[in-house]
Symmetry: C2
Subunit: 341 residues, 2 copies
């Protein structure tokens, strides 16, 4: 099926676009009253993720309501540990929580390599969303990067320091590599399944890149991200490693199309470090959307000029915060869509 608005795909491939495309991380979520309405009908976040009809519905909402240039499938990075054998709960106000965590070699041996059919509900949601979108905009699929998934599997929940997960890296480097390889193999199967189901573009989220030293990031994260980049060939691929300041030069050498930047990364410095062969994505501070309309406009235009007209996909530098006003989020999107160099 031809995609009518393929701005994002063209920007990812480094082709000229008539304007900068835009989508938002966590655009399908609590910022939209439309989402909260669907959500209130469900038992919880996971039920929403696991019910393709509802996941599809909230995936499409931001395209209708905010006018973004891509949809992203409504899902969660932690479906992978669950498919490998570690179920989790999403606790209100506390976030993800795993009853069982990885402690020993035996725990790792018992994990399955996930296959795409283990995550049939995601594949079904993608198929449904593709049908519903009817070629209006591309659909983005995604997964967590192996280090971030590993961190949750060891730690069992979110953490300020992820010191348990890092302790495992320092004390059990060989087991760490075993586990990371299993996660990587599962993630490749999962992402290939998403392409088969219809995803037009993929993104890898390394949310906890920022707790690792440069050396550890290369050894325990980039090595596996690189395997995934090499395995995904058919659609544009984005790597977003939050707070990975020190590894931007290495990220410029990954076999992928786009590198996501968070809002603490300087734009010209990042371009210099990453090089000219990648599209950059980002990187407005989500908190800007608390500001006045005038400030949102001027700061957004400043960001667009800093990135320049080519090889840029506009986005925030992290996900939307739930208490942002929908009108201001839409104003950010509109400002980008109206701007011409």
């Amino acid at each position: 099926m031809t995609i009518k608005n393929d701005l994002i795909l063209r920007a990812a491939r480094g082709e000229k676009t008539e304007r900068t495309p835009v989508w938002l991380m966590r655009q399908a979520g609590r910022v939209l009253p439309e989402y909260r309405e669907v959500r209130s009908k469900m038992g919880g976040f996971k039920e929403l993720v696991e019910t393709p009809e509802f996941a599809c519905e909230v995936t499409i909402q931001p395209v209708d309501v905010l006018g973004v240039d891509a949809a992203i499938i409504f899902s969660d990075i932690l479906v992978i540990p669950e498919a490998m054998g570690l179920p989790y709960q999403m606790l209100e106000a506390k976030g993800p929580w795993f009853e069982k965590t990885i402690k020993t070699e035996n725990d790792i041996t018992q994990l399955r390599i996930a296959q795409s059919h283990d995550l049939h509900y995601v594949m079904d949601a993608i198929k449904l969303a593709k049908k519903e979108l009817n070629g209006r905009v591309p659909l983005i699929g995604f997964a967590g990067a192996p280090w971030t998934i590993f961190a949750y599997m060891i730690e069992g929940s979110g953490s300020k320091t992820f010191s348990k997960a890092k302790k495992f890296l320092y004390t059990q480097p060989e087991l760490s590599h075993q586990l990371l390889q299993k996660i990587t193999d599962s993630t490749i199967n999962y992402l290939k399944g998403q392409i088969t189901a219809g995803a037009d573009m993929l993104q890898l989220f390394d949310s906890w890149a920022g707790v690792l030293s440069h050396e550890q990031y290369k050894e325990f994260s980039l090595k596996y991200i690189s395997q995934i980049c090499d395995a995904i060939k058919d659609v544009p691929f984005t790597v977003f490693a939050k707070d990975a300041h020190s590894s931007r030069r290495e990220m410029g050498k990954l076999n992928c199309d786009t590198i996501g930047l968070d809002w603490t990364m300087d734009i010209p410095e990042s371009r210099e470090m990453i090089g000219s062969t990648k599209t950059l994505q980002g990187n407005m501070d989500p908190c800007l959307l608390y500001a006045s309309y005038a400030t949102i406009k001027s700061e957004t235009i400043k960001m667009l000029r800093a990135f320049g007209p080519d090889r840029h996909i506009a986005n925030l530098g992290h996900g939307l915060y739930p208490d942002l006003e929908k009108e201001k989020v839409k104003y950010f999107v509109d400002t980008i869509k109206e701007f011409r160099f």
Copy 2:
């Protein structure tokens, strides 16, 4: 009084030292059974901070037990908001909590500029510790950087994103500057009082530097850090801004002696950005101290070589974690003290 071991002071001033000096952030704390014993006699963390005899005792412990080259006064960065009129509690497992936070101009108007006598218990603890140390090693005093203090005064507690505090910056920039100036004036009074009481060296902690964009960090943090640096003349001064990757060039221009690095900052890159006129402090990953003795040794020596023999004060890249083993912490210190270039 002459200080017998003045390695740290000499390293801060850029003088040659016979070996690299070392101290640890949060060295006076739960890692030491000796600390936990004193702590168990007290009602809570704040009572310990506010009782000069006990604060002095736990300040000296790491010098005796770990053999570090400096003591740091046992206190808390949040004594400043309290002295300005915002009391706080330290909740077990949850961290700091303020009943009243800053919301309006009137809230800011009502705040006092703290004077050093408002924090007489810190001054008394410094005097006592100086007496007890009897010139063995220098005593470090400290304060929070204005942005970090501001973040707690608006947010009222710790936070993953400090989005309330950042919202205040975006929506109330003028009030933000008013509040930051009051905190800065209070901090200068406080630090000057610490020098008068006997502190041999001072450090500013900007713990939440990492949530701000480069532009906001310059406008709302570095501007005030710079005022403090200019006001402190009589003792070596260190600025440690965790995760402030993008602002290292500007930090190299501050009127201070030493810049602290966290473990995610690449050492040669930081030296290049900060320049050769500053001493660098840091920057081992605290989690390294979970590793085997052999790994601790080899990684520590690798770090020492990366910094080189001059203008380096060895430390971790963040505070000690409470569950680290005292023996391994001491081994890290010993490895540094035994190493010769």
